[in-house]
Amino acid sequence: MSVKSLRQTVQGLLPSLTPVRFVAEDGTPVAKQPADYTEPEVEILLEAWRRMVLGRRFDTQATALTKQGRLAVYPSSRGQEACQIAAVLALRPDDWLFPTYRDSVALVTRGIDPVEVLTLLRGDWHCGYDPAATRVAPQCTPLATQVLHATGMAESLRRAGGDGVAMALVGDGATSEGDFHEALNFAAVFRAPVVFFVQNNKYAISVPLARQTAAPALAYKGIGYGVRSEQVDGNDLVAVLAVLTSAVEHARAGHGPVLVEAHTYRMDAHTNADDATRYREDDEVDQWREADPVERLETYLRSRGALTDEDVAALREEAEELAARVRAGMNADSVLDPLELFDHVYAEPTPQLREQRAQLAAELAESAPSQED
């Protein structure tokens, strides 16, 4: 390769020097619109805004339910709605999504029943929805492991001959895990149609980004695999959606994987069980409040005349209905059969599991209050 084309290859793999942004924090368009990306249609932005408002309401409701003990734990994505919603809107229903524990809002946006979404965090069972039907993998807790699964799925989609794409959601902290590295490398070598979407919310539980990496930005990891990469203002829905849409198209067209890093912020603690005051200043949180993605998009849409007070009020009502549905679902007691524990270890239980099932059945029968009592 000539030095010139080498230089071009390198430039083509590096992200833009500063995060791609369409709309400034105050809701006004940035002076210089990003040349490489197309602003989505206003209808799509309106739909995105709706989903963001609903998503946030779902999220605050879920957090509230932890206080009432109806959820075992909830990792909030408040502040990350632009990422949560754009990820889903950038995909087709027949694409696959590989989410983490923090991505419940994305799942609701994907159309999964909120009660099924919360099955895991409520403690009823592990994954509550049907991954095959929804084309959404179970929310993944072992960090970065799902990035490989997404790559494998993408490779399956490629081999199936269609134009399906897989998207892996992953946190800033999780990019430090070996599996992240292996996934990017496999995807690049196989040219698998997968988008790696890093929601860099600046913390991994208590560990700030500066302790996680010394890279100029996480998006700079792409070039080390030959993976096209980009960084984007993660609180600017317009930008995130534009960049992800382009990334998905790139993958869909058979040009291989893309790495996208969104700079965003986790407004709440890691989960309801976490105490964020131990490791970060209120000032910092306040500052990010100014960058709120929902308000920003609302202001922008209003400035474009696409949104009225009535729209906002109507959606607020819809959001309250969603919240009420979630509450009702979570307040209903779940009926669980302990003997189901033996049903899904293998397609058919082993002789040993049948023995153990019988043992548990006997234990349960013994401990159950007898009819006469």
Binding site: G123, A204, S206, V207, L341
Partner: protein, 339 residues
Amino acid sequence: MAKVTMAQALNSALRDALREDERVLVFGEDVGPLGGVFRITDGLTRDFGEQRCFDTPLAEAGIVGLAVGMAMGGFRPVVEMQFDAFAYPAFEQIASHVAKLRNRTRGRIGLPMVIRIPYAGGIGGVEHHCDSSEAYYAHTPGLKVVTPATAEDAYWLLRDAVADPDPVVFLEPKKLYWSREDTDLETRGALPFGRAAIRRAGRDATVVAYGPSVPVALAAAEAAAEDGIELEVVDLRTLVPFDDETVTESVRRTGRCVVVQEAQGFAGVGAEIAARVQERCFHSLAAPVLRVSGFDIPYPPPKLEHAHLPGVDRILDAVDRLQFSDEPDTRHLLKGAVA
């Protein structure tokens, strides 16, 4: 004497180790300013500085691999894996290096390091947060494997582990972190590292337990005593090295043995204990050594963990079966098995 929790005892042990030996370092995910998700390292960064207790990037193989290099470089790293299942990414480093470096170097380089792992269940944790992973480590020669059941043991076993010239996997039963006990951490109990404790004396049968199962075994003994059956409860404290002497002596005396573990049973540490006990006490045994354990299933969701975890009743059921021949039970089970 003061009421202390196991979490406090562990924190004190780390503090005292940091204070007494400047080679000791504490690191891992969120162990710094946050003090760890279970607060075991609470205040250590504040009191000893970032140089002694610090956060690392989020990568468990990295943490353990770094610790290997630092132990080679003269430090005594005490690292935390945040939860049991999140130690698995470090498995290669643990099995191929931590466990083997002394041997690989023909004794020239030992690795004095401790891998602390909150383990086992009973806290309503969602998937991947409640694995009982002790067998993986106990089966790996070159590791010592410890699991305390009391605050006092937590303190002293951790002190011993940090001082040990060899790598120690230190398994902390999560559900006991907050149990309080009257103890005085200043004076060391009688038992050295490597010895089991007889937590309750009894003549009718020996219950061998460790870590999270010890209080359950003691509760079962309490209940059995009401029925006139006196169970002796042995708390192993260290799985490797294993205290054959205490266990063998007890079972030879009682003639019966039940082994309790929270982990899935198949090829667990309980299997080892049962196998050893019958090897060594065969002619003293009036009944087979029975095992009480979790089922051979992935750890259940929070609302079903009660059905999985061995509780008092499951132990008492086993004790009941110690009195009889194995024939009826086994036939029954086998019928189920081939149905």
